[in-house]
């Protein structure tokens, strides 16, 4: 057996050698459970909600029924404003199928006000000049109209800079 063995294939040869193709049916209906069910139901009402742990005093967002630092049940629901601060961001020139796009998708992590430090979610940004997207920028959620909301993180269309920011 020779060392560092292996027969390279080009993408065309991949289909020339005998092969099998398959596309499995793999579908799920994940139970959202206590925390995520409430989180999604509140999103449908245009609200953000977190959970507070009285021992470490953290307001956890997105909410969890247990505190992972103290390993105990979290104590109370806490409504949070739909404003926050940009923790980090990127300008993606690839769409979801990794195809090149000219207008970049603005995406980043938004730490939600009222939650503990760094408690954030990933989301889009829009209604802004990409050059203004920066660390520490104050942003606000832009919601879909109520009748279009279905209880999903996409009920928020994107975040845009807070008035008076830029």
């Amino acid at each position: 057996m020779k060392k560092f063995a292996g027969e390279r294939l080009s993408s065309e040869e991949m289909k020339e050698v005998t092969h099998e193709e398959w596309a499995p049916a793999v579908k799920y209906a994940w139970s959202c459970g206590e925390a995520m069910s409430r989180f999604l139901n509140e999103l449908k009402k245009g609200k953000l909600i977190g959970r507070k742990c009285h021992k470490c005093k953290r307001v956890i967002f997105p909410p969890k029924m247990f505190c992972e630092f103290c390993f105990r049940p979290t104590d109370e629901w806490v409504y949070l404003p739909d404003t926050g601060t940009v923790m980090t961001y990127s300008l993606s020139y690839l769409d979801k199928d990794a195809r090149r796009i000219e207008e970049p998708i603005l995406v980043g992590v938004i730490a939600i006000d009222g939650a503990s430090e760094h408690m954030g979610i990933m989301h889009y940004f829009s209604e802004m000049d990409p050059d203004d997207l920066d660390f520490g920028l104050k942003v606000k959620a832009v919601w879909k109209p109520e009748k279009e909301r279905e209880g999903s993180v996409t009920d928020i269309k994107y975040f845009k800079p807070l008035e008076g920011e830029k």
Binding site: K27, Y28, W30, S31, G33, M36, M65, F66, E68, F71
Partner: protein
């Protein structure tokens, strides 16, 4: 080197659907009960965490990402073992034996009710070039095995029906069980033939549930509890993965795994030195196959003996007093921990109305169709 004991056990009950908890929450429930049972704080006292899971059962490309928070492993050593729960116990056993870890938590769960296309995922485990293109319902493997087992041992379909009747009746006394029933052999024999000779009631129904066991080195075990359950021996093995090479009627993996576990436990006559067993019964004939492979009865005799009540709760050698997978429900990769949990409860005298007397028990697991892999663990009240 230190000895290793199980000092804490926790589980949820086994139900076919659990819409009220997410996978995180079902894991947290079992973990918080296990830590309460052991009286340990995972954030301070547990040094290492192990989860047993497979991506496609859960629905994530890397399920390992979604496990730490709910078992208390944030910023702690944790791994995912792609195997049955007893494989996780084996890893924990080895980690403690090295002396690097003193207390290790092992978690395994099933949230299989979240998976809509279960049979397609099972077929997705078949060899993509030689077996999968034929399609069909993947459990035909069970039919092929059962036919060969009956032919080679002379056991009958009625013997296999006795296994179903015994286990589902045993489950009547198990509050955690989800598929208990009082059946007759005739009812089982008349259930819908699926993959002859395998019938509908010969197949353990799927179930959700989570089990967490806490292991500790000898010194810590004596501090934590006054009735530790000692791991006397553990073994795991695989026969070839090729269907075309396999011994269809013998559970070669259990033969090798049990031989290794007994060697470690210094057991030379399993039938005499072991008092009861919990063996995998995802299909009825598998229980008989595993009993023989684990040397718990003379070769080829399991069928006759089960029909004579030899393995009943009040028989000479109780097997699956918990109700097994047939009675509790098939927890997929958590079945191994489900079996080990019952042995732990029995040895701690906490099995309530199911209580057996005995000082040594063995748990045997199988990873299900299409694998030929399984593990065995020997537990005892003294090391």
């Amino acid at each position: 080197m230190t000895r290793v004991a199980i000092v804490g056990a926790g589980c949820t009950d086994f139900r076919s659907i659990t819409p009220e908890v997410s996978w995180k929450e079902i894991m947290y429930k079992a973990a918080s009960r296990a830590y309460h049972d052991a009286g340990v704080d995972p954030r301070r006292d547990v040094n290492s965490f192990i989860t047993c899971a497979e991506d496609y059962w859960e629905g994530f490309s890397i399920f390992d990402e979604f496990t730490p928070d709910q078992v208390g492993a944030v910023l702690r050593p944790m791994i995912t073992t792609c195997g049955d729960g007893i494989y996780g116990l084996a890893n924990a056993f080895m980690q403690i034996k090295t002396g690097l870890m003193d207390v290790v938590a092992v978690e395994s769960h099933s949230k299989i009710s979240d998976l809509i296309t279960y049979r397609d995922v099972v077929l997705f485990a078949f060899d993509p070039v030689y077996n999968r293109p034929l399609g069909g319902h993947p459990y035909y493997i069970g039919g092929l095995e059962m036919r060969k087992y009956l032919q080679k041992t002379g056991a009958t379909e009625e013997d296999c029906a006795h296994v179903v009747v015994k286990n589902k009746k045993n489950a009547m006394k198990n509050p955690m069980a989800g598929h208990e029933a009082d059946l007759t052999v005739d009812q089982v024999m008349k259930s819908q033939p699926m993959f002859e000779p395998l019938k509908k009631l010969d197949i353990a129904p799927l179930s959700d549930g989570a089990v967490v066991l806490v292991l500790a080195c000898e010194e810590k075990a004596r501090e934590i509890t006054d009735n530790p359950v000692w791991i006397r021996g553990v073994g795991w093995a695989s026969d070839t993965c090729w269907l075309e090479q396999r011994q269809w009627w013998r559970a070669v993996y259990t033969e090798i795994a049990s031989k290794n576990a007994y060697k470690m436990a210094r057991i030379s006559y399993p039938r005499k030195e072991i008092d009861f067993a919990e063996v995998d019964d995802k299909f009825s004939y598998k229980e008989l196959q595993h009993i023989e492979a684990a040397q718990l009865c003379p070769p080829g005799q399991a069928g006759r003996l089960v029909s004579e009540g030899y393995f009943d709760a009040d028989g000479a050698f109780p097997v699956n007093r918990s109700g097994g997978s047939l009675g509790c429900g098939n927890l997929i990769d958590a079945s191994g921990l489900q079996r080990a949990l019952e042995v732990v409860l029995q040895l701690r005298g906490e099995a309530g109305s199911r209580q057996l007397d005995g000082e040594t028990g063995v748990a045997v697991s199988w990873r299900g169709v299409p694998t030929a892999s399984g593990a065995s663990i020997v537990l005892g009240v003294d090391p």
